[in-house]
Symmetry: C2
Subunit: 103 residues, 2 copies
DNA sequence: GCATACAGTTCAATATTCCCGAACTATTAA
DNA sequence: TTAATAGTTCGGGAATATTGAACTGTATGC
């Protein structure tokens, strides 16, 4: 099974981070993770209608951007925000984005 | 000649703004405009090698995101940042992005 | 005036990226 | 060991992005 690779935050370029956040579905998931600590993939989904493969791709992108960490627990993949690491790499960015979300 | 349409900032969704900033070329142009006040299209270009049509498209996208205003002066198109308007719509966002640029 | 250069846009074709159904893998439950 | 669950990967069509070529409108030179 996939043991995911998580990038070091210093290797994440700003463009990639912004691109990851520049999508309503992904941003919604990040916002949810910011409020909820730990979520399985399906629980992190922004809505019921989104296909599994699409959801999986979004989460892969969020991983690549250094925004989330995914670990396997049983048959679930548990996702958490890499909040402090991300904030260390891009100070103030996530706060600003989340503060302007759904406003 | 094209008299450009500039959106009201309240009509700009966050995704669109982030998408506009999530590109090295466009972000470079925004950073330059933040430092330079007024720039023609070619002066705003992030490098010499970028084709004119690509540059024109990037600027169109920045306009659609409410980030820049373009007005014709003679045969040049002069671009300026809509800084205060953008900041009013998305407080702290542009500051955070620019502060994390080229770091 | 008329031709030429210039600044940038628009168009259309190519190249890239994204989305999602279908098939697959691994883990748990019966 | 069979079936169900949770999610990944693959592949092809849809949507976007890039860019050369043709075009528009403005200024300059003769």
């Amino acid at each position: 099974m996939p043991r995911f690779t998580h990038p070091r935050l210093e290797d994440v370029p700003l463009d990639l981070a912004l691109h990851a956040l520049a999508d309503p579905n992904r941003l919604g998931m990040v916002a949810r993770l910011a409020a909820t600590e730990r979520l399985s993939c399906s629980d992190a989904a922004p809505c019921d209608s989104i296909p599994k493969s699409t959801l999986s791709n979004h989460l892969k992108l969020l991983r690549a951007a250094g925004l989330i960490e995914t670990t396997q627990v049983g048959r679930e993949m548990i996702n958490t925000l890499r909040r402090s690491e991300f904030d260390g790499r891009f100070p103030g960015l996530l706060d600003a984005v989340l503060a302007n979300n759904s406003g």
